[in-house]
Symmetry: C2
Amino acid sequence: MVVVNKHTKIISAATKVFAKKGFFTARISDIAKEAKVADGTIYIYFNNKYDILLSIFEEEIGKIFAKTEKLLSEEQDPSRMLQIYVSQYLQAMKKNKYLGEVIQIELRQTNKVIRNYRKNKFSAYTNIISDIIRKGQDQGIYRPDILPDVAKRAFFGALDEVSGVWNISLETHYSVEEITEQILSLFLQGVLLDTDQVK
Amino acid sequence: MVVVNKHTKIISAATKVFAKKGFFTARISDIAKEAKVADGTIYIYFNNKYDILLSIFEEEIGKIFAKTEKLLSEEQDPSRMLQIYVSQYLQAMKKNKYLGEVIQIELRQTNKVIRNYRKNKFSAYTNIISDIIRKGQDQGIYRPDILPDVAKRAFFGALDEVSGVWNISLETHYSVEEITEQILSLFLQGVLLDTDQVK
DNA sequence: AGTACATGAATGAATAGTCATTCATGTACT
DNA sequence: AGTACATGAATGACTATTCATTCATGTACT
């Protein structure tokens, strides 16, 4: 049997439980049971319930963020940069089905103080998008009338919502590549077949 | 002084409090205080805390849904239909700043049973989008390679996330028309200036 | 038109249940 | 035999919900 350290075990149990029940409805004892440890053990590794959520968020988003930044630094073409962004995010979400839900929880459920804290951490991640768009506008390949800060939200919102597809349809199995392609081409070209049709 | 009935007063107080503190952190006494009624009064009008949230959701989404459906029934062009959809949603969200947050809460925070319930109600609303896309594909004006069910999510996710713009920037005042235009043109045409640039 | 009675909306203090957190005790390893 | 980690029952704080009581308003009778 593979032995995993307790910190990791608790993190992954909590991710699962939070995703299933939501942060507030999840009980510490649920997490403890899922992780096969005693309730008290959790407090050896984490300060409190919220600390567990924060740790999941930090550690996982941190990983994605770091990897994305690294890959982006080696790239110059805005559209390829966006592709990297999308595929990294979706890949991470597909790998850990529960993570997407937990991120959404973290983004909405927590109180104002905390919200401000994560805002800094998290907006750095979404600001990557607006930076790429500005870059594309500077290079003259992206429409200058697009507002990068609005587009950033639209883009991340789309990504966030789409990252849940893996969890619904039991029959259809989309691949990360497929969804990446859809999102990207939607965002780059739009749904219209022929651009001339726009009034 | 304008006298409003208590049901309405509680609904609007609760919308405000839920948006500010989140469903679980919000106390009944907070809502009561905001509505200037006694705690017990709330239970004359609602069965329990969750019933308040559900009522907000039902009533408000219901209004938007009904109005959108009505307007759409008089329209045939898919792109104009999408425009109606977007502008109706954003208009409603701008009118009631707190509503957007509450909808997001409702969409994420509640337990599985309830989630399934709202899924039916709510997915009817988002399915409007995929229906419009299919219509556009049938008419031969939308790209046939777009997956309507994926695009639906992307589109609504974008809309949902963008609907929060009013709440952040204190300096910038975007109009509903402006944001509608951005989202729509992003979705229809994409960010690329020249479609030929796509590999 | 004044008095007595009825109604039920509104109140908010008291209750009751839920859980996060603690800590006294146990276990295992060196 | 000391150290570090682990346990889970007990504690106590927090709040949703209840319900006995109040009181403003309406009705009917003289």
